[in-house]
Subunit: 199 residues, 4 copies
DNA sequence: GATGAATGAGCATTCATTCAT
DNA sequence: CATGAATGAATGCTCATTCAT
């Protein structure tokens, strides 16, 4: 029993990891399922035991990676003793962006496939009850010295700006390499946060 | 012969228009070249006379549509007597976004395929000499009562924020339908512009 | 244990019934063994414990259903006090056809898969010793006021004509709906019977 | 032009003939499209240029072969100076059956795949205007010394009986080899014809 | 230039069958 | 007896691309 379940998990993870590797190196369109199973060392039929098709595994992969990223940032924030919403959000953004800068394949993969709606559902509407990222964010807001209005709008605006600008600045180094663009981005983020403060 | 050239142009345009129609309705991946030529009423071989492959025609289509959009906005701005950089940029953004709101297939098509690098090349670095969009922008900046630093950074930040946020707000109505989100977006844009002013 | 044997029988019957249901609704070609076991609630391997493959279960099913049909007709004939071979055979044919008319999936299934040889073996040559259908038929013949020659030929001709004509008339209503075609069919059957009488 | 069309026809016919050969020798289910194209010496894609799928080519094949058979019988009848509807119909049946007896693969192929509805449409309802088999039959009926009622019913009954009985008698030699069964069959057919005569 | 028949590599998906537990 | 995870051969079908006319 335990042995079988263990084996199942092993195969599923082998497929998961292999798919991620191939998607990020060869691109999704150019990755055939036969590539995945071959590299993962399982039979073709086994793939269909665990995933519906290529897009099923892709979506699960994207969500998984995005979660990892934000949880890591959240954990790091908790460890660092940062105070004040502004600094805290900048800290999280910085953490996520730094992780992506050092992992451009992941940056590319996430950016191209993260149907924003999915992430937004998680981050902003907090629909996914077993996921506390949004809750952590709300907590940060409530603990700040200031009060804020239209919190969801604020979060949305920041995520869109940071996500889009960082993606392009990192990958294309235009209009500036990200390190140089960073101060501008964070200044804008701070302005947006402040504009949501209740006086 | 003028007649022959005309005919050539006609076929090319038929392919161009048909491709756009199919890409926006069926999606690019699901559109085969045979679909395009069939609907356009030309032979399969003819396609390869004018375009290298599906992605060639796609890219040309994206640039073409994006150009149309900005030129229309620029023309409209010239007609309206708007003064001050802030109001002028808001005017342009508003014009483009309104056009996209009324044409969601176009919004989708542009957003998914506009490799930002391409547009940025056009809009921001002005590389493309026969295209005056960037020049018009520079002119607006120079004519303003205030002076600005890091103009490219400013333009980049605005384009990323407005593009990304508008896209998601329009299509998914999250966190708010765009009409309701608009005031927040424009407030943020104005803040960004102001932050680039030389005191 | 009786309990174990019962359980065994239960599983086999579940497979049998489920296969019949799926064969008649989805067709044999479109029914996979996995469909059968899934619906029957048994494991895939269990199927191979009782049947060799899809065609094994199909054949057993056809014979089973055909037997049921004729036995029911024979029983009914015994209950009704019909006299004379002509009327008796018409009675049986009518009984079988009526049952099939009210169960078109069965009609379809039987007709498409009843390799006539199999039924003929049963009905005409009486090979299958534990099956008394043929014997009952011989008895009817012997009890009639008339004598008959080439009894097997007669039975064969009647079965072929009635089976084929009824099948098409019922399913396609061509050249007439069966109810209207019936008098013609039965007239022909009576002529065939009479033609085998010894003067 | 002529050359191209000629070539097209050649390929289509190669596929047609090869498919027939494989269907009759290996069976339809066991014949893969790759088998057909390989043996026909064309590329896989070419198959789909001319036929939708395996069942498309099968249906076209069945109709084609059935037509050939009846036309040949009709032509032969015209050449032989047979008089009287009874003898004429027997002549046609005999001609068709003889052809099938000498070509058992064809007998098998036709019998298993000729959706009777299709043939009946042709033979009995005469829908297919460019096919004169039914017309020829009507002509024979009208030229006979006797008058007949319910002609379609008569034709249908004969076709069903002869088709079904001959098929089984030829292939399985049960209850008798066809040559021995033939007199019985034809006697029945004559009885059926006579039963439709107007006195 | 224009055509469209032909190509054939490429790929997703299914499914009967096995066998370790 | 029963299970169901794993297999991988088999196959239908698509489609970009070429090239003789």
């Amino acid at each position: 029993m335990g042995k079988i379940d263990e084996n199942k998990k092993k195969k599923k993870e082998a497929l998961f990891n292999t798919a991620y590797e191939l998607f990020t190196t060869k691109g999704i369109n150019s990755t055939a399922i036969s590539d995945i199973v071959e590299k993962a060392g399982v039979a073709k039929g086994t793939f269909y035991l665990y995933f519906k098709d290529k897009y099923d595994i892709k979506n699960k992969l994207v969500v998984h990676k995005a979660r990892e990223l934000f949880h890591s940032a959240g954990d790091s924030l908790a460890a660092a003793g940062v105070h004040g919403l502004e600094d805290q959000l900048i800290y999280i953004i910085d953490h996520v962006i730094n992780a992506l800068m050092e992992n451009k394949p992941l940056l590319n993969f996430i950016s191209k496939n993260l149907v924003m709606g999915a992430l937004r559902s998680t981050l902003i509407t907090g629909e996914n009850s077993d996921d506390d990222i949004y809750d952590r964010f709300l907590e940060l807001v409530s603990q700040d010295d200031y009060s804020y209005t239209d919190i969801n709008v604020m979060l949305f605006t920041i995520v869109e700006l940071a996500g889009s600008a960082a993606y392009n600045s990192i990958l294309y180094e235009e209009p500036l390499p990200f390190e140089e663009y960073k101060p501008f981005l964070y200044r804008s983020v701070r302005l947006i946060i402040k504009s949501h403060r209740v006086p």
